[in-house]
Each structure stands twice: as structure tokens, then as C-alpha cells.
């Protein structure tokens, strides 16, 4: 795009297809909600330049939000940006309406993650029991004690990026 100022040329942006999908779905929804006539079903078209502008804006938003979250994180004398930092950053940037949906997304992610962890721990315990049966375990599934142990061990190993 000759002549157009790039706010930052350093990083690659979001994939155009994804951005386009988000935009077009929203426009279709808006057309459906706001019109009673044939405009209801008609496509609202998006200029190619406009799509680029959406992508660029989204990228700047990510930079802005992560810089803010990073500061909040540093202020708490931590090194790793966590979910709380992000939620606080969102409020600080004046998007408080995002907070509730974000919390819901977080809860869903955690729930799903916990389910995955429980699942893999169970498999791990079962595998270990098969391998080291000299521990005297009987055929019944008395997993309670051992499962707790396995989970605690996993948590101690930490979980960072």
C-alpha cells in the first residue's frame, strides 16, 4: 500500500480470512436485525481497503492491550502476564463491556483445561499402575488417593510458557 502510513511494520498481522469472517458475520447480523425489507438478506459488502484497516486496527489493539497488561503485571512485581492482568487492562482501556464475556471465556477455558488435565492424569495413573503393579494394589479402582497424588505432582511441575 504505497503512501499509507503503517503504524508498525514489525509484526505480521492477523489472518485476513479470519478477520473477514468476523466482520461479515457481524454485518449480516446487523442487516438482519435492522431491516424488514429485501435489504435484510442482502450482503453488506466490505471494501478490501476497509478489511485491511480492520486487521491493522486489531493488531494495534493487541499491542496496546498487551503493553497495558504488561505494565499492570510489572506493577505487581510479576514476570508472567496472567488472566487478571488482561482483565484489568481491558478496564483501563475503557472497554468495561468486554469484561463479562471475557470472564465467561476464561471460565470455559479453565473448565475445559481442568477436564483435559483430569483425563490425562487418570490415564497416567492407570498406565503407571499397569507398569508397577508390585505396589500391591488390588484389582478394584481405588484411585482417589493416588489420583490426588498424581495431580499434586503435576501442579508442582508448574505450567508456564
Amino acid at each position: 500500500m504505497a503512501g499509507r502510513a503503517h503504524a508498525d511494520a514489525g509484526s505480521e498481522g492477523l489472518p485476513q480470512a479470519n478477520v473477514k469472517r468476523v466482520v461479515k458475520e457481524k454485518l449480516a447480523e446487523l442487516a438482519y436485525e435492522h431491516f424488514d425489507d429485501d435489504r435484510k438478506e442482502k450482503d453488506v459488502l466490505v471494501n478490501k481497503d476497509a478489511l485491511l484497516a480492520f486487521s491493522e486496527s486489531a493488531k494495534i489493539f493487541i499491542h496496546f492491550l498487551s503493553a497495558t497488561a504488561n505494565e499492570i503485571c510489572r506493577e505487581s512485581k510479576r514476570q508472567t502476564i496472567n488472566a487478571d492482568d488482561v482483565l484489568k487492562a481491558v478496564e483501563e482501556l475503557d472497554f468495561p463491556e468486554f469484561c463479562e464475556p471475557l470472564k465467561a471465556a476464561l471460565a470455559g477455558f479453565r473448565k475445559e483445561n481442568d477436564a483435559k488435565k483430569q483425563d490425562s492424569k487418570r490415564k497416567e495413573v492407570a498406565r503407571k499402575r499397569k507398569a508397577g503393579d508390585s505396589n500391591g494394589t488390588d484389582g478394584d479402582i481405588h484411585v482417589n488417593g493416588r489420583l490426588d497424588e498424581a495431580v499434586t505432582m503435576a501442579e508442582d511441575e508448574g505450567f508456564t510458557d
Binding site: 508498525d8 514489525g10 457481524k26
Partner: protein, 207 residues
């Protein structure tokens, strides 16, 4: 027997649908289509519900925006060091909501100008209205804004005040208006809050 009641069934036909089908088959050929239409409706409803359920479940699994790419964008800022696994998930959601918000506001601009195509200047218009998009002011420079954004009265709509950014400017017939904002060409239209000033990471390619 009332007209709307179904006749007692022939023996061996317990299912109401089957009864209906039989009844219809015995009367005229068209009701067969009616039955098929009902079935089609039921199937449609069924599949709509299925899709809704799938979408609800997938809401947390399938993100619209890829997490890996988001993380990459975050890390292109040198100051950002470590990111918990939960963070990109929130960023993806926040970013998606941001795009939705920007789309909505841009669409309003498109609608106000009675166009069917959302253009870059609609996004510019959305950015200049309200404060929350101040950090985007550099993305679409003001010179991109077209005449329609400078409160020029639309031809064919004489005498009506033209709304612009919550303020109304009575049109001067026959003359393009000199909008007070025009004086600020070359500067951001909205005073920049220093706290909101954001310097994007200045660096070369980070892979």
C-alpha cells in the same frame, strides 16, 4: 365427530403421524405434500437446534482468531516476556469483540451515508467519533476522510441540519461548509489523552 378431529384409526396404526399419513393418503394427493412440508419444518427446527448447541459448545474451543498468531503479535513487543497460557485466550476473545465493536460503529457510518459497501473512511469515521478508539487515530489519517465526513450537506436534502459527531451544523445552501474541524487538518481531531498515547514497538522484523 368434529371436523378437526382425527377419525379413529384403523387397527394396527398406532403412530399419530402414520395415522395422519394414512388419512391423507386416503383423501387427496396434495395433503401428502403438506405432511412432507411439516416434516421438513420439523427437521429444520431440529437442525437449527443442533447447530445452536454445537455453537455453544464450540464457543470456548474454536476461537475465531488463531491463538498462536495472537501470541506472536504480543511477543513482537520486546517488553512482553512471559505470557500465561490463559492470556492468549482472553486476547483472542477481546480482539474479536473489538473487531465487532469497530464493525458496528463503521456500519452505522455506512448506513448514514446510504451506502451498501463499508469503506475505509467509514472506519475512519467510527474512530473519530467517541474516545475509545483514540489509539487508532494514526491508522487511518484524516486526509482519507471524504467530503461526506466533513458535514457537507447531501444534495437533495436541503434545509436539514447535518449531524456530525453529536453536533448539528445547519447547512448553507449551495456552498460546501467549512467545518470547524477542517482547521485541524494535520492534527488528530480529538485531543489525545497522554495516558492513551501508545507507541507501537519500533523494531525490524521479529520472527
Amino acid at each position: 365427530m368434529a371436523a378437526h378431529q382425527m377419525p379413529t384409526t384403523a387397527p394396527g396404526m398406532p403412530h399419530p403421524n402414520a395415522v395422519m399419513a394414512t388419512q391423507y393418503a386416503h383423501s387427496q394427493p396434495q395433503p401428502q405434500l403438506h405432511y412432507q412440508h411439516l416434516q421438513k419444518q420439523q427437521l429444520q427446527t431440529f437442525w437449527q437446534q443442533q447447530i445452536q448447541e454445537i455453537e455453544q459448545v464450540n464457543e470456548f474451543r474454536n476461537h475465531q482468531l488463531p491463538l498462536a498468531r495472537i501470541k506472536k503479535i504480543m511477543k513482537s513487543d520486546e517488553d512482553v516476556k512471559m505470557i500465561a497460557a490463559e492470556a492468549p485466550v482472553l486476547f483472542a476473545k477481546a480482539c474479536e469483540m473489538f473487531i465487532l465493536e469497530l464493525t458496528l460503529r463503521s456500519w452505522i457510518h455506512t448506513e448514514e451515508n446510504k451506502r451498501r459497501t463499508l469503506q475505509r473512511n467509514d472506519i475512519a469515521g467510527a474512530i473519530t467519533r467517541g474516545d475509545i478508539f483514540d489509539f487508532l487515530v494514526d491508522i487511518v489519517p484524516r486526509d482519507e476522510l471524504k467530503d461526506e465526513d466533513l458535514a457537507v450537506p447531501w444534495p437533495g436534502v436541503p434545509g436539514e441540519p447535518v449531524p456530525y459527531g453529536n453536533m448539528y451544523y445547519p447547512p448553507i445552501p449551495g456552498q460546501p461548509m467549512h467545518h470547524p474541524m477542517e482547521m485541524m487538518v494535520g492534527q488528530p481531531a480529538i485531543a489525545q489523552n497522554p495516558q492513551m498515547m501508545y507507541q507501537p514497538p519500533q523494531q525490524g522484523h521479529m520472527q
